[in-house]
Amino acid sequence: MTIFSSANLKRLFTILVITAVVALMTGTPGSSSAPPTTGVHGSFLERVSWFGFFAAPRWTVFLTLGVIVWLLVSLYRPRARAIRQGLDHVMAAPRGLTAKRPARLTLMAIALVIVIFLPKFVHESFWMYLIVEQIGVWILLALGLNVVVGFAGLLDLGFAAFYAIGAYTTAWFTGALPVPALFHHHIPTLWVIPIGIVAAMIFGVLLGTPTLRLRGDYLAIVTLGFALIIDDFVEIQNGVTGGGVGTSAIPHPALNLGFYHFDWGLSPTPYYYLCLLFIIVFIVVFTSLEHSRIGRAWVAIREDEVAAESVGINPLKYKLMAFAVGAASGGFGGVMSAGLVGIINPSFFVYSVSVNVLVLVIFGGMGSIWGVAIGAIIIQTATSYLDNYQPWGYQFNDLYMYIGALLIIMMIFRPAGLLPSRRRAREFAAAEGGEEIHTDEVLTGDQP
């Protein structure tokens, strides 16, 4: 295969389109005083410095980068294809199951284009801010809880605890808490991301190890208790966490690579793209997990723990994994939120936050990544709209009345959620048909 074969030129085109999108994303934000085209225009023609050597329009930088990526991909392609062909004969059967339908791919592409260009058309930074804080961060939280509740079938009523751990870890390591930062060394907010994730995971594993052995509803009670403890701790420990006032000195994230410097600052648009990037990463990672051996083990445990054990699956190990992954996403949401808002206090992590995330998962469809993401967008948009416009005499306190009503209606008409996952929908169908319901009597059928 030569580099200039038609297939490879097509690939060049795709890569250039992607680079153009990246150029737009990192370019001039929209503003309320200028027409929408200004952002597009500026993103390509604005003159930038080439790593400090000379100045040229932005498009030249991105074009060069695109071509370099294309050359690298062209060199790697033949090897990758050889590996895939080797797998094809065995994978023919299973691949038919997970084949992506073209309609679905098209929808995904359209959705991607819309979310990428959204900031160019939202002119009020107030709304942009709401989109990131009230929708973006919540999608991240809901995607994480979906792993625990939807994939592994573990009911977690205290997800806000991990969210709080992420946020307070950020505050601690950036030196924003009353207690001095670790080793008295302040770390930039962006570099706290892995620390926040690991901290939340550690708490997840610590909480999960003794409690995940329990079956059924015990776990829900334990997680609930854990969240209440964390919430109380941050509220009471004035000297450590700043108490009820919290802290407001968390620095904005900034990227400093020597030759390149970027400060997320006060404008919400850069946060939007940061959040979007991570949402996409989460979706890709969780989709891949769902279809990996771990995802299958989760389904097995969720459906029938005894049968899963009988094929060699250690339920505790896989439940802990789900718990850790969920906690990590919660912790990450905390870091994002703390970096964006700059302020944290205990009211961000109260019990209703856990409930709200759970509602997003149930509404969207447990176990369905796209369902949960879309469900989160719908509910959070509606919530933000109600809170900010207060139509029809709506008041803040009414929110959970409406959400409760929504849940009841959902459970009657669409119990598997807005966009149910295929696996979950089958389980619901089987349960309603009254077959494949296992009780312990089945296992111990021989018992007197």
């Binding site: 994978m91 299973p94 051996r293 771990i294 097995a300 049968a307 296992l443 021989d446």
Partner: protein, 274 residues
Amino acid sequence: MSDEATSAATDLIIEAEHLTLCFGGVVSLRDVSIEMRRGEILAVIGPNGAGKTSLFNSLTGVYQPQEGSIIFSPRDGTKLSVIGKKTHRIALAGVSRTFQASRLFSALSVFENVKIGAEDHRGIGLVGALVKGPRTRRGEHRSDEVVLELLEFVGLTGEANLIASQLSYGARRRLEIARALATHPEVILLDEPAAGTNPSEKIELTALIRRVRDELGVSVLLIEHDMKLVMSLAERLYVLNFGSVIAEGSPAEIRANPVVIDAYLGSSHEETSA
């Protein structure tokens, strides 16, 4: 029961000795001793409530008998004491099982059901599953091949992409056997494999179970109520009644054993009165 049998008796794959299992005051197994030879098809029969499934659950670590010992001896020469071990450890060591009521993963495809069993659950963690490096890919490739071989073995290749709950009853039982075989067991415990199947499916199942032993070299321990199937398949039988072993021997010996006949007649009286 000739010299051949006694010489094979030295090579035991499962030795369960003096098992006693109680639930509160209810004795489920009372001083049960069972010896299983490598490569044989052994059956455990007995009336309802005799403790057959309790025995299976004890052998696979689901129940922990209060007294007695269970030694599993895989081909590599090691000895594994089963009591006190977790079910998944025992499964990975080479003792596999099916269930009385089919316990398939009903929302997954036939292929995925077997694949869950075929996968190496000890190996790669979260990172490995995510990054999908060469090691993970090789593992996937290997388990896919195992799955396809097993589906062909039980005759479900054409149904690979169906959802497990769409299968007929007989096909489900075959799928359960394929799933149990996917862990590369040395012994497979079949709990009433022919329950709920029709006569022609029973014939298929009998042939399949025999092939499991003959072609794959897996020892088979069987619980079954269908006497015709048991007698044609098993080389040796244990008879349980009220939690105790009341007889042991070849099908011909068992058929002629007055104690066994008594237990069965007695139990059928109880069943009708219950």
